[in-house]
Amino acid sequence: MKSLNIQKTKGSVKEKIKKRYHSWLGEWLDRRSPASKSIKLTQKRIYIIPSKMGFLFLALTALMFVNGVNYQNNLIFSFSVLLMSIFITSIVVTFQNMAGLVITAKHGDPVFSGNTTMLHLVMEHSAKKIKDGLMLGFNREKAAVLTPIESRLATQLEFKAQARGRLAVPRLSIFSVYPVGLFTCWTWIKLDFEGVVYPSPVFTPYQYVGQTEAGIEAAQQVINRGVDDFRGFRVYQNGDSLKHVAWRQYAKTNQLLTKEFEQPQAQGHWLDWHALPGYKIEHRLQILCGWVVRSHEENREYGLSLPGLSIPSGRGDAHQQACLTALALHGVDAHINAAVS
């Protein structure tokens, strides 16, 4: 038991050192290469060391060398020298394969916090040679192999979004052992992706503040009648909720139709910040987010009211996106502004 404890503490010390090192490394890298939209890989950013196989190759070269010396065999000697020279030259070739690559961050698909999104980026270069064998990822273990880049490649990368707000992507690594695998060449880049992370929705019943009796009634009616008030079909348009697609008809006619319902004419379906007194900001935003999502799913007309911002009533994907973005960015830019001023 005792020894186990000791090991545990040892492990934690090691862990601590590792953590320290990583945070120090992170800071150093941040200072060295701050985030930007587009990054060109130059010798300042590219690091290169022999790979495991490179060391094995060196051992082989040494073995050949000893063979050549011991048998006083000039041909074996020359062969070992040639292998050595290939080893050294491959530093340059491996480096060149990566150098000159321009990586531009495009955007990240909007996503709810905690979900996985796609980051879109473009890699370009003007070299004559095709850049091959590149791998891209947040760490080496889970890196994606990129197809060879002749001059331009648009690619995507999966990323699990963290906190709501503007999309913040940690440092990315691009690395390669191409062409001969004797050297690992890598770079750390911090890219600014455009994009927002919505709060993760929390689903609770609606609550309203400061509305007319009629409004509440109407809203209540909607809740009561819900989607039962079927009016007819219309042709599916982009932005219609999939929940309202008439799948049965689709199966029969192969045409996408959307079920239309009687819309409550209530003006006052407001998703209001002030309806949730006593909640913490983030939690409030999450609940509001849940309401937006549900309202959209139910194909209602809704408006969003946040302190200092209100989005008039509307519906559809664009409207939902505007509302979610407002929620995502609530306080973010103000915070930045405050920090700046």
Partner: protein, 670 residues
């Protein structure tokens, strides 16, 4: 790192490299290893196509054990290079069964490199070298292929994605690596062996042996293998002096001659004192083919000029170590005087008078009778020459067996057919039986000129045996009884002397001979530059380039060269020259600024062209038209549109205008 499963293409290349490597060692491998390797490759292919299962670890283990046992039974316990290479190949042959991931294939590729390199233990010709380099390129291509992210024509049909062609990549990498490799080859010091290796190759080496039974040299007479090459630094001696001494045989057991008496060996090279004006010194370098022995070849009374070559008391050169690879040494020989010695030691005279107690009575009686008639050694020798000339002695490469107990008797009085060994042996016997110290000398006679390169070759068919006899007060004197019988052997070489016996290598066709000369010349240069480039030759080259320096200085200079070459190379690769380079327009602007500042006009780096012009006009209003012209030229190219770059003539025009203006401004300043 993530380990990637190999693409089809990589596997094909891997198999190709493996087969080529195997092919290289094919004739020195036992059949079962080759079969095993091919079998393992087929099994791997079966796994790839899903026909066969991956072998269980126990099967792999059993195969490894089987391999070891097989090697043991094939080669026994004796360690030879062949058995070691076989062991390596056996392991290598089993490896494909394991290769699934990229890291496995690296191991296989590195083994390929190692094995093709070991080919040079057996073969050292220029063609072998080219062949190894070609295979190396294939292996390098394989190595690149396994690192490509998408192989073209992948099974997914992703044809639209182009990649670099792996073999061109490999070639380019190879060519880029070549200069550095050449530099390292010529400059890296050749170390002495780190530990002594005595693993001989089991190929027999053709050449002289340290015992001579009649008929042995005749065998050599039929071989046209190269024994050594020689380059004369002074006048080439005449054929009568081209006796290359290698061995002195003193002991006769009634049948064959061998070396029993071990004379002292002097390892410190002395300097020659010129004894008389008659002395002729010949300087030459010998490039010896490996013969796994210690004896070396030299003419006349020789003095070694190379360290680790000793001079034995009987006038032979001896190497400190057996010669397992090509070896070069230089010698100075005195051809006129024999080895000068006033007296023989008791031990030596006993050795050089030894004959078996019994046998060959007829010869002994004949010699004694002759000696009674001609008591002086010279007269006795003359009489013997007459005896050989007067009888029907016949010089041939295939004299037939001598099967009686008294071989000398049988040869001298019955068969009378023999090769040089017979004549030499019997003459020494006759000399010794009348108390004249004599010995058999074995070596080569003659050289063949290669007209293309300036050197001479000595082949195995030049092998020869002759006699040295002791003259009191004079020393050892060379006598060649073969010359008495077949003078054409000495004067025109072996080919003429035994023309009937030559079938294999007669070079009557002139063009064939010229091709052979060309090939030999190439081989010679190859040997000179690739195989024997070490030690002395290296030092000579380096001194030629860097001047004579101490060892430490030389090392420092070389290190300096090495690192500066490396640094310059890397600088070029890593610097992003293009992005830092100013455009022509910018450079013109900088020039303009500099000129104006020089003339005393206040200009800041941020000043625009317009401001610069205004300042200049203020400074010297009379030059207003010039200044405006320059301004217009700048404005047209810099600001109108990005496409309106200056042409070369415009640029030159502008430069001229700026320089002219600067001149005028300066004139005014004074």
């Amino acid at each position: 790192m993530k380990d990637v499963t190999l693409a089809n293409r990589a596997l094909v290349f891997l198999a190709l490299s493996l087969l080529l490597t195997l092919h290289m060692h094919l004739d020195r491998l036992p059949v079962w290893i080759v079969l095993g390797a091919v079998g393992s490759l087929l099994w791997r292919a079966g796994i790839h196509y899903g026909r066969l299962a991956s072998p269980h670890w126990s099967i792999k283990g059993a195969l490894v054990l089987l391999g070891f046992t097989g090697i043991y039974f094939t080669y026994g316990r004796d360690l030879s290079i062949e058995s070691m290479v076989s062991l390596l190949v056996a392991g290598f042959a089993l490896k494909p069964l394991e290769v699934e991931k990229r890291s496995d294939s690296y191991v296989l590729i590195f083994l390929c490199y190692l094995l093709i390199g070991l080919h040079f233990l057996f073969e050292r010709g220029p063609l072998d070298y080219l062949w190894v380099l070609a295979i190396m390129l294939v292996i390098l291509t394989t190595q690149i292929t396994i690192n490509q992210s998408v192989a073209p024509n992948d099974e997914n049909g992703s044809d639209s994605i182009r990649t670099n062609t792996a073999h061109w990549q490999a070639l380019s990498l190879f060519l880029k690596a070549l200069p550095l490799a050449a530099f390292l080859f010529f400059v890296l010091p050749r170390l002495a062996p780190l530990w002594v290796l005595n693993i001989p190759t089991s190929d027999g080496v053709i050449g002289l042996s340290d015992s001579m039974s009649p008929g042995q040299i005749a065998q050599l007479g039929k071989s046209d293998e190269l024994a050594f090459r020689v380059r004369f630094n002074s006048v080439v001696p005449p054929l009568k002096d081209q006796y290359w001494r290698a061995l002195v045989l003193d002991y006769f057991d009634g049948e064959s001659w061998s070396q029993r008496y071990q004379p002292e060996i002097n390892w410190d090279s002395q300097s020659y004192a010129k004894n008389s004006s008659k002395d002729v010194f010949t300087e030459y370098e010998v490039l010896l083919e490996p013969h796994d022995e210690k004896w070396l070849f030299s003419l006349g009374a020789a003095l070694p000029r190379t360290v680790n070559v000793g001079l034995s008391e009987d006038g032979r050169l001896v190497s400190k170590h057996a010669v397992h690879s090509q070896y070069q040494y230089s010698v100075v020989s005195n051809l006129k005087t024999g080895s000068q010695k006033d007296s023989l030691s008791a031990l030596a005279s006993k050795a050089y008078l030894q004959i078996p107690a019994q046998g060959n009575e007829r010869s002994q009686a004949f010699a004694r009778a002759l000696k009674d008639k001609f008591p002086s050694v010279d007269d006795f020798t003359q009489a013997l020459q007459l005896f050989f000339n007067g009888n029907e002695f016949y010089y041939t490469l295939s004299p037939g067996e001598l099967d009686s107990e008294n071989t000398i008797d049988e040869f001298l009085f019955d068969s009378q057919k023999g090769f040089c060994a017979h004549f030499a042996g019997s003459l020494v016997y006759l000399m010794r039986s009348v108390g004249v110290p004599a010995r058999v000398v074995v070596g080569y006679l003659g050289v063949e000129e290669n007209p293309v390169a300036n050197y001479y070759s000595v082949y195995q068919y030049n092998a020869h045996a002759w006699v040295e006899i002791w003259h009191k007060g004079v020393g050892w004197k060379k006598i060649d009884p073969t010359g008495w019988v077949a003078p054409e052997r000495i004067e025109q070489g072996l080919e003429q002397a035994v023309q009937r016996d030559f079938v294999g290598f007669s070079t009557n066709l002139p063009w064939l001979k010229s091709i052979r000369d060309q090939m030999n010349a190439f081989n010679y240069y190859w040997n000179d530059w690739m195989l024997s480039y070490k030690g002395g030759a290296q030092q000579q080259l380096l001194e030629g380039v860097f001047g004579k320096r101490s060892e430490l200085e030389l090392i420092l200079v070389l290190l300096g060269c090495f690192f500066s070459v490396l640094a310059i190379g890397f600088l070029f690769m890593f610097m992003d020259f293009k992005s830092k380079r100013l455009s022509h327009e910018q450079r013109m602007l900088v020039l303009y600024q500099a000129k104006l500042i020089k003339s005393g006009i206040k200009i800041f780096p941020s000043t625009s062209v317009l401001q610069m012009s205004e300042q200049a006009v203020l400074y010297n209003p009379s030059l207003k038209s010039d200044i405006t012209a320059i301004r217009h030229m700048f404005e047209r190219s810099l600001y109108v549109s990005p496409e309106s770059l200056m042409t070369k003539s415009e640029r030159l025009h502008l430069k001229k205008a700026i320089l002219l203006l600067a001149k005028k401004l300066n004139k005014k300043g004074r």
